[in-house]
Symmetry: C2
Subunit: 303 residues, 2 copies
């Protein structure tokens, strides 16, 4: 797959250290996307036919370019699959200009409005209410300073799965803790509560799911170190989520559980549109509406 954006005119190795770092991060994000998509397509084929009739789905990819500023990305879409009702997995990279207000609120000197960014983001909506939804987003962003940010969190749909000591939650948290611990013993104690705080809906008085980790403005002064951690978050997701899916995809479900899933998906919609920083950033900086909104669940109910 060739990514047809303005950024491809940027030489692969740049004398500008920020560009060189962005190129490195971008290559990782795009490679991770390819590995995740391949694994999902395997799961689509593996899912038991008795529960998931029909043909396995594959991803389609749609390159797009920013209308303002240079850059763009590739939207990866899967819809109407056997196991997965809808998935959006996107990589994007940009050179852009922040509004003065955004520049003030982001790390850096508060004056520099030019930024470069590169990111991966994904949301997967399984068809079975017994298979949890997952989200991951990691990014490198640089104004007069560069930093990593992102996170990964799990959203099980059934009441009995939505506690910290439910089996899937325990597995997911353990995987994220291992990724953290390999880099800094203090990370998990900081990034796990950060996710609990971030993925919370004050107006509902409830969390979106069971959490995971969340971090932002990660700049230890050592790019390689921060980049290695961000790589391991992606690798942990690629390992743990398919493991949870394989365990749950053999379980039949009831109509009532399907109804609970459709209602629970509403929390996802409300979070993304009311609170999510990535959605805001994307919509405010001329991101691609189709990819941003592809995080929305395929079917949702509000009773």
């Amino acid at each position: 797959m060739t990514i047809d954006t303005d950024l491809d005119r940027t030489p692969a190795v740049s004398d500008d250290p920020v560009e060189a770092r962005r190129t490195q991060a971008r290559a990782w994000f795009e490679g991770l996307r390819d590995r995740i998509c391949a694994e999902i397509e395997t799961l689509e084929r593996e899912a038991p036919a008795a529960l998931f009739p029909g043909e396995p789905a594959t991803f389609s990819y749609k390159p797009w370019q920013r209308k303002t500023g240079a850059g763009g990305g590739v939207g990866g879409f899967l819809s109407g699959g056997r196991l997965f009702e809808k998935i959006g997995i996107h990589t994007s990279s940009a050179n852009g200009t922040l509004t003065p207000e955004m520049a003030k609120n982001l790390p850096g000197d508060g004056v520099t409005r030019d930024y470069v960014s590169t990111s991966i983001s994904l949301i997967m909506h399984p068809r079975s209410p017994r298979v949890p939804t997952v989200h991951m987003n990691t990014r490198f962003l640089s104004t007069s300073q560069g930093w990593f940010g992102g996170g990964a969190d799990l959203t099980p749909m059934l009441p009995e799965q939505r506690s910290q000591d439910a089996e899937d939650a325990v597995m997911f948290h353990a995987a994220m803790k291992a990724a953290c611990d390999a880099h800094d013993p203090a990370y998990y104690a900081k990034f796990k509560p950060w996710a609990d705080t971030y993925f919370f809906l004050p107006h509902r008085g409830t969390a979106r799911g069971v959490g995971g980790i969340f971090y932002d403005h990660l700049n230890s002064g050592d790019f390689e170190r921060d980049f290695a951690f961000t790589r391991d978050v992606g690798a942990a997701l690629l390992e743990i989520y398919p493991r949870i899916v394989r365990k749950r995809m053999v379980e039949p479900w009831t109509e009532q559980e399907r109804a609970q899933q459709l209602a629970c998906r509403g929390l996802y919609v409300e979070f993304n549109l009311l609170y999510d920083k990535g959605t805001m950033f994307g919509l405010q900086t001329g991101g691609n509406t189709e990819t941003i909104m592809s995080s929305m669940p395929p079917l949702v109910s509000w009773s």
Copy 2:
């Protein structure tokens, strides 16, 4: 129905002119709610059985009180009806305190943070994709100044209904124009484009529906005059919407039209959570989440 809120301890006639005005407006909003609910329950019974099987639904009412400040309201809910899949119709009244930032952004001296408010709001989601969704919200709000605001707009769900010269749009606009013209020949020319601007989703580059009217900070210096106009907006809605519903509820629909409706409802969700001032105001001032979120459609799809 008795409304069980702190406000009921307020004497019906107050020496405070602001309280007296609020009491007047509140009585009108609550009476309008009762008339609209009665008309909807009539429509529920009238809808043709061949297209709308099952029992006619009636409203249930749920009083609530504000957790912060005095006041509360009554949520009117109808769900799983024959003709109407879901309706939320709410009256609410409060004495509260604005955040300093809100006080600065609202009419008044910019310093007074105490406010009183009273309002009606409704959103109706019909089951048939051929029957348009409708929204109305009007309110009286007073800081160191008092004013009316609100609007009514129509959201037809099928592509051929979503133009300014479609039959339902023409009928709806004519009714709103008549309400405006009875009070000020300049109103419609101002309030119609205001709705077109307000009910627009920049990230989608499209309007939520076919519009209607929208106004805010209406303070001509003559409370009676502004109140009379706000009453006529409500009366116009009560006249025109059932007329459109009766015309459309005899039309059968296809699976494809139902799918178009579910997708079109996504615009409603995106608008309410990303842009709607009423939703923001409610969530920021300790409003009732259940009533605020009852505007959400019963079933929505994002492909």
